[in-house]
């Protein structure tokens, strides 16, 4: 009983902290700069990480199995992974823009997990025989970590595309407030970057130069994060295959979820291959290369969501543990 209340408390704490933190950060960026709150984002994310981890641990203790057996738990784990990525990227002190992606992503996944859609999954349930294996921890956690990393990386690529084609978007939606959101986001990136660049060096303030710097950094960080995510995805898929061999006798069944994970893997392999410089002979245009790969990564963003969520909506196949119906029964 104590664990359920503890879970409840931690869920609310984590969501509140991260909403407060994001609100503060948005205020700092857009409204007024309050110096004392500058590093509140870091501390807030650390607090969120601890509360989400505490939530997972208390679920683990109360149910007796690793907390990854249904969609709710996997979403919580996903938000945990986002906060882990945020903290790791800040650890190296690299002054990157990842926090713009990880913090909102955490709040979205955490919000969706704790929202009214999934209330019937909130209680920790027993584990079916097929999931009682050591491989559960390894396979599912690797897959979720990889989803988090790949989502971050592909969102950075989407940001890069938005910023690169901002002029076109401006012309396209002049007077149309519908597309305010994409370049609002770009504006945030832009201001963030401008501030951090100012801190480092003193440049002549050419707007194009800032834009170039920003796209370079986005491109670079998107590449690094996606490479990391790709490694995790490879390990996760292969762990899943070995587990399937142990449990069902064949390591690849062309199950919808497996197939879509493989499609995700293929798309990001294409991304990595579009970044090699071998085949670009005539056009050594850096920006062209980075736009190409950013396009592929953006497609990858959609594919990950289909793989993770869309298949669960169908609820068929061997991976049906994560399924849920949209109308709460």
């Amino acid at each position: 009983m104590i664990f359920t209340t503890l879970e409840h408390i931690l869920t609310h704490i984590s969501f509140s902290i991260i909403s407060i933190v994001i609100t503060i950060h948005l205020m700092i960026l857009l409204v007024r700069e309050i110096v004392g709150l500058r590093d509140s984002l870091e501390k807030g994310m650390i607090a969120t990480f601890f509360s989400i981890t505490g939530l997972l641990v208390s679920r683990w203790v109360s149910s007796g199995h690793f907390p990854l057996s249904n969609l709710y738990e996997s979403l919580i784990f996903l938000s945990c992974s986002f906060s882990i990525i945020h903290m790791i990227s800040k650890m190296g002190n690299h002054k990157n823009d990842l926090s713009t992606i990880t913090a909102p992503s955490t709040i979205f996944t955490q919000g969706f997990a704790t929202s009214g859609f999934l209330t019937e999954m909130h209680q920790s349930a027993i584990l079916v025989p097929a999931l009682q294996s050591q491989w559960l921890m390894m396979h599912v956690s690797m897959m979720l970590l990889s989803y988090a990393a790949l989502l971050c990386g592909s969102l950075l690529s989407v940001a890069l595309l938005v910023i690169t084609f901002r002029k076109n978007i401006d012309i396209f939606c002049k007077g149309n407030n519908f597309l305010i959101k994409p370049f609002f986001f770009g504006e945030i990136q832009y201001l963030n970057e401008k501030r951090s660049v100012f801190k480092n060096t003193s440049f002549l303030s050419f707007r194009n130069y800032y834009k170039y710097q920003l796209t370079q950094r986005l491109d670079y960080w998107s590449y690094r994060v996606i490479s990391l995510g790709f490694t995790f995805l490879t390990i996760g898929i292969l762990c899943g295959a070995v587990w399937a061999n142990e449990a069902w006798g064949s390591y690849w069944n062309w199950d919808p979820k497996e197939t879509w994970a493989f499609i995700t893997w293929t798309i990001f392999a294409i991304y990595l291959h579009t970044r090699t410089r071998i085949h670009i002979r005539s056009r050594t245009n850096q920006s062209l290369k980075s736009t190409n790969s950013a396009l592929v990564a953006s497609i990858g963003f959609l594919i990950i969501w289909i793989c993770y969520f869309g298949i669960n909506l169908l609820g068929i196949g061997l991976h049906s543990y994560g399924s849920f119906t949209l109308t709460s029964t």
């Binding site: 490694t231 069902w248 006798g249 690849w252 879509w260 071998i278």
Partner: protein, 524 residues
């Protein structure tokens, strides 16, 4: 590991500095002795290296000195300006083709023609946009395979994709069945794309990646400050000694080569080799998968508790290369089948106690299997996959026990329903009076048997793929430095981690101690 990948015949790559020091100590005495060591006690560990004197121990490719053949100069430039294309295939191939055709000149042009055709095919296959296109196509086909329901009877497709009302305006059942999309993952279209991808992988590895490795392994000192300044990252330290830089870089994990005023350092060479490993691992997995598809056996059986069966009777071959093994002659006895339950009544685990007997009655093995814990014997694996009821044991009014056979009833969903009937004798008597007590439910265990020769190959490929994907995350960084008077000019580049490299080198350069007094004899 690096010793295998680097040229094994050459000792010039300093894998163990002690060895190198012993062999080159005489050559190095000049560069080592002149520097006032003083407060730098470990300077002697920085090994000087004079390739000129030992040029004859190199092969023709690996000459770093300045006045060598023009071809190696071009190749050296490939290291420095990596944005350019790899060594043009036709030039090298032309050389080797010329040599090859020089020998069997008498055998005529057909051999040469075949070789040229092969090389052209190789060049076409190793085209990167083609490979990307293939990967996209495979991804699209797989997506299609999840959308179209697989493995149904043709009637299903007649109804779902009717000719009168085609999906998306043109997709009728004719398309689906003709292209084999109802069994997408074994259809000729899909398998053909996979074979093409495998061929592209092999061609790319052979023509592009291996020469890149050769190029990356060759390195040269840079002797001019302009060349160093042209690097991606360049800086200069006004008052410093190149030995200090070498020591600091060594502390950061770089391998150092120092000759006179020039320094070359690199780190993370494995990051260049790993992509080749990735491709090879994928080829291994594909080979293993092909073997599995061609040579495996599968079988599925539901055995009531207490009964037995012979392995060979239930196994069906899967492909053309399936050969039954000796282990197929074992009998499998299901001794007991039972389940564990949670407090809520749901099943927590299924257990089957199995004994394997040889045909002459000797017990070979006994194990209790459960889901996720199969039995392995002689290449055959037995999995717990299903369960059922075979009979109900009842007593009526104390008489009995009677065994009533049960049969599964149709029910949609996850739950199962079994039914049986009680023979009452007289069809007209409406009531059956008496007490029926269910003594026991005899279960039957659903077992899957499988033998798969490709599994070791596939597992090896999996392990290699995981490892090489991790390793290829690392970045191959190279740093050149030149001592120009009391200034060091430093330049460097890396193939993956550009921004992090900049920060790292900035940090390292900040650590280089600044020389306060200039020694007059100090000329590097």
């Amino acid at each position: 590991m690096s010793s295998l990948l680097l040229n094994p015949n050459r000792a010039f790559f300093p894998l163990s500095r002690q060895v190198l020091e012993a062999s080159f100590s005489s050559l190095c005495s000049i560069s080592n002795a002149r520097i006032p060591l003083g407060s730098r006690p470990t300077a002697h560990r920085v090994v000087g290296f004079k390739p000129r004197a030992s040029r004859d121990s190199f092969d023709a490719e690996a000459l770093p000195e300045s006045n060598t053949k023009k071809k190696s100069r071009n190749n050296n430039k490939k290291i420095i300006l990596f944005g350019s294309t790899p060594p043009p295939l036709s030039e090298e191939r032309g050389g080797s083709a010329g040599n090859a055709s020089g020998k069997p000149a008498a055998e005529g042009s057909s051999w040469v023609f075949l070789q040229r055709a092969f090389k052209r095919v190789l060049a076409v296959l190793s085209n990167l946009p083609l490979a990307i296109g293939e990967m996209f196509t495979i991804a699209a086909l797989m997506a299609l395979g999840t959308v179209i329901d697989q493995g149904e009877a043709p009637d299903y497709y007649f109804q779902k994709y009717p000719e009168e009302n085609p999906v998306f305006g043109f997709v009728t059942w004719r398309w689906v069945l003709a292209l084999g999309f109802d069994h997408m993952f074994t259809s000729p279209v899909f398998l053909g794309m996979l074979i093409l991808l495998a061929a592209s992988l092999m061609a790319c590895t052979y023509t592009t990646q291996i020469p890149l490795v050769k190029v990356a392994r060759r390195w040269s000192f840079m002797h001019s400050a302009e060349a160093i300044r042209k690097q991606d990252f360049a800086d200069s330290l006004p008052r410093a000694s190149i030995q200090d830089l070498g020591i600091i870089l060594m502390g950061a994990g770089y391998e150092i080569f120092l000759k006179g005023p020039s320094l070359y350092a690199f780190k993370g060479m494995a990051g260049r080799f790993a992509p080749i490993g990735v491709h090879l691992a994928m080829l291994l997995i594909m080979a293993g998968g092909t073997l599995s598809a061609a040579g495996s056996f599968r079988g599925s059986v539901t055995v009531p508790q207490g009964l037995n069966f012979v392995v060979g009777d239930v196994m069906n071959p899967n492909g053309v290369l399936s050969f039954p093994s000796l282990a197929f002659d074992t009998e499998v006895h299901v001794n007991r089948f039972y389940m564990d339950y949670y407090d809520s009544g749901e099943v927590s685990q299924f257990y089957t106690d199995i004994s394997l007997y040889s045909l002459d009655g000797k017990e070979l093995m006994r194990k209790t299997i459960r889901v996720n814990d199969p039995l392995r014997y002689g290449g055959i694996t037995i999995y717990q996959t299903d369960w059922g009821f075979s009979a109900l044991q009842i007593t009526k009014n104390g008489e009995g026990p009677f065994n009533l056979a049960m049969a599964p009833l149709q029910l949609n969903g996850d739950k199962k329903l079994f039914g049986t009937f009680l023979p009452t004798g007289d069809a007209d008597s409406p009531n059956v009076k008496g007490m029926i007590v269910i003594e026991d439910a005899i279960g039957s265990s659903g077992l899957d048997l499988k033998t798969d020769p490709g599994v070791p190959l596939v597992y090896a490929g999996f392990g290699a793929l995981m490892l090489t994907t991790c390793i290829s995350y690392f970045s191959h960084s190279q740093i050149w430095a030149l001592q120009d008077g009391t200034t060091i000019i430093v330049g460097g580049k890396t193939n993956r981690a550009n921004l992090e490299f900049r920060d790292e080198v900035n940090r390292l350069l900040d650590e280089v101690p600044e020389l306060v007094t200039i020694d007059k004899n100090f000329n590097g």
